[in-house]
């Protein structure tokens, strides 16, 4: 399948390991990426604090670009996904509002008619490609990994903007894929909670407490890694984990994997190709388990 690819700012900024890992994995999955190089930031909910209409206009511009190509948009960030899904819902539900926004886009020769679908790679894998086909690409069975899922707020709430009723599989998609790589799912309450990143620079103590809470809870339940489809969650859960350990006085060691990295490792890519050495929390323990992994049987 072919998609208009929207990598988002963080996949190329704070989490530079995510972008190349995604390219390799998508190639294996047979997803042809046409990157939306001229698209702006979604606003990440921050711009929307100041002015929702402004955020909607920037996103409508991105949607119009994809619509012109006749392609669905694919994201690799829960926050981009959620912000775009919410904007798309407002633009699709209200023709008058869309017309108002299109007025702003006109000068650039763009118009959004309301027909673009926006899908995170997570959803593309379970819905469009199908778990069995994804599984057929795995060469390693990661049976020794016990993985806690961590979704990121924007890909779970508000449920009515995310198409859960038409696509019920979306809600457990991360668990489905963890099982598919042969690992054990460590279910925990924090999986749909907030990582704390939005207030990191505003109330660092609270933000870092959230990191401590989620990573230590998963650790206590026996997880040896956590996987997230959101690079913003990764920034906080990985980058601020040393600080979280210090602040909480708990010895936490929880390697955080990006979703494409987990897929890539099961597909046989090396930890280096997946950029694991760029993580703040060492992934050595995960790598050791991968070396012991059995070959996968499709």
């Amino acid at each position: 399948m072919k998609v208009a690819f929207y990598p988002g700012c963080v996949a190329r900024g704070g989490c530079p390991e995510l972008y190349p890992a995604t390219l390799l994995v998508c190639q294996k999955l047979g997803i042809e990426l046409e990157e939306l190089t001229g698209a702006a930031c979604t606003g990440a909910g921050v711009l929307q604090e100041k002015d929702r209409k402004l955020g909607d206009a920037l996103n409508a511009r991105t949607f119009a670009m994809a619509e012109r190509k006749g392609l669905p948009i694919m994201t690799i960030c829960s926050t981009c996904q959620g912000v775009m899904s919410q904007a798309n819902k407002r633009l699709q539900d209200d023709d008058a509002y869309r017309a108002q926004i299109n007025e702003v886009l006109k000068e650039e020769g763009l118009e959004y008619k309301g027909n673009v679908e926006i899908k995170h790679l997570l959803w593309v894998m379970v819905e469009d490609i199908g778990v069995d086909k994804v599984k057929a690409l795995f060469t390693r069975k990661l049976q020794d990994l016990r993985i806690a899922p961590f979704y990121g707020c924007y890909i779970v709430r508000p449920s009515w903007a995310l198409g859960f009723s038409e696509h019920p599989d979306r809600q457990g998609a991360l668990e489905t894929l963890i099982e598919a790589v042969g690992a054990t799912v460590v279910d925990f309450e924090g999986k749909t909670k907030c990582c704390g990143l939005p207030i990191l620079l505003i109330n660092e103590k609270n933000s870092v407490d959230m990191v401590a809470k989620h990573t230590s809870t998963a650790q206590n339940l026996g997880a040896n890694a956590m996987v997230t489809p959101c690079p913003l969650c990764h920034l906080n859960l990985d980058g601020y984990q040393p600080k979280a350990a210090k602040q909480s006085g708990i010895a936490i060691h929880m390697p955080i994997l990006h979703l494409p990295q987990l897929m890539g490792l099961a597909m046989g890519f090396s930890p280096k190709e997946m950029g694991l050495e760029r993580h703040i929390v060492s992934t050595k323990a995960v790598e050791a388990k991968i070396r012991e992994a059995q070959p996968a049987r499709a």
């Binding site: 700012c9 963080v10 900024g13 704070g14 989490c15 530079p16 390991e17 190089t37 001229g38 698209a39 702006a40 930031c41 606003g43 990440a44 909910g45 921050v46 711009l47 929307q48 604090e49 100041k50 002015d51 929702r52 209409k53 402004l54 206009a57 920037l58 511009r61 702003v104 000068e107 650039e108 707020c153 924007y154 709430r157 508000p158 449920s159 309450e189 909670k193 907030c194 704390g196 939005p198 207030i199 620079l201 505003i202 109330n203 660092e204 103590k205 609270n206 933000s207 407490d209 959230m210 809470k213 920034l235 980058g239 601020y240 040393p242 600080k243 050495e277 760029r278 993580h279 703040i280």
Partner: protein, 321 residues
């Protein structure tokens, strides 16, 4: 219909007052709500089960509890819509508040925070002869917040309250919006000033839990976002939160995208001595990131089409005052 309610209970008068779980298997009608199930247990199985309710019609706000881990009204949720394949439903007291007994919780901290935002009209100037008149259009945006039934579901699931009990929280902040947004109120500036302080509007992490669980569509988080915008518009630029929002917008406006490198010093305030400590505290994190080759670059080239992004900003935001 067969259903099993798995209830998180607590009896403060027990010899060893610890939370425990108890299951009840019931035969109920398909139209039964979670509250109907609980009342059925209290009437026919165990009269000691404490549960609070009154209207049974999503009006009084008494029956908030956690259903399968998420807050909601017992009287608004049908059992059939929440039971799993085996007919099981997990019911617990709300989160972030102390249980009194079983599913009844202490509402005092909830009311204290509502009181803290002075939830009453404070008009300015001489009293009118008859009534305070407000135009219809100026009141419409308040209809949603006035629908709040003070059930506490939003407070139960707020992620910030889980780590910081001092945060004012979604219900109180939504109530604050109700008065800040009222054209008849004369205390707006003072209200905003207090909401702008620690534990106020900037401490919300935008997790949308409150938007998701509110049974009345109050959408507290969205009201908090409007309060933030109003605080900035009223000239309150001096918080990390305001600087964060403003520098984020500036960056996207001029380059089309975000650079995390510059967001840090700009949020802490480039030349703000008070915040030097916070800047230095960020250094170990930056150093670790640099060593792993993941510190965002200070170079921030414009994205393709950035001039259009800028034009959209100018068009939507209008001329700067």
């Amino acid at each position: 219909m067969r259903v099993t309610l798995d209830i998180g209970r607590f009896n403060p008068e027990a010899a060893d007052p610890k939370p425990y779980r108890q299951e009840f298997a019931l035969e109920v009608e398909e139209y039964y709500t979670v509250l109907d199930g609980l009342i059925h247990i209290r009437e026919y199985e165990d009269p000691t089960l404490a549960v609070r309710c009154s209207c049974r019609a999503s009006i009084c706000g008494s029956c908030a509890l956690r259903i399968n881990g998420h807050a909601g009204l017992g009287c608004k949720t049908k059992l059939i819509s929440v039971m799993d394949r085996n007919g099981r439903v997990r019911v617990d007291p709300v989160g972030n508040m102390a249980p009194v007994k079983d599913l009844v919780w202490d509402m005092k901290p909830f009311w204290d925070k509502i009181r803290a935002v002075e939830p009453y009209l404070q008009p300015e100037g001489p009293e009118p002869v008859e009534e305070y008149i407000a135009p219809q259009e100026a009141m419409l945006h308040l209809v949603g917040v006035m629908g709040c039934i003070m059930c506490g579901a939003c407070v139960s699931d707020c992620t910030v309250l889980e780590v910081d009990k001092n945060f004012l929280g979604p219900a109180a902040l939504a109530k604050a919006y109700r008065f800040v947004g009222d054209p008849r109120d004369g205390a707006t500036k003072g209200r905003l000033k207090r909401l702008n302080e620690y534990s106020g509007i900037w401490d919300c992490t935008r997790c949308m839990e409150c938007v998701q669980v509110c049974p009345k569509g109050v959408a507290p988080m969205e009201r908090i976002m409007v309060l933030r915008d109003k605080a900035i518009a009223a000239g309150m630029h001096g918080t990390n939160g305001a600087r964060h929002a403003e520098s984020f917008a500036e960056m996207v406006k001029h380059t089309g995208w975000l650079n995390e490198f510059w967001l840090v010093p700009r949020t802490y305030g480039m030349f703000n001595l008070m915040n030097l400590n916070a800047m230095f505290a960020a250094l170990p994190v930056a150093w670790r990131a640099l060593r792993r080759g993941k510190l965002p670059t200070p170079l921030h080239p414009k994205r393709e089409g950035a001039e259009h992004v800028r034009r959209i900003f100018e068009k939507v935001e209008g001329p700067k005052p």
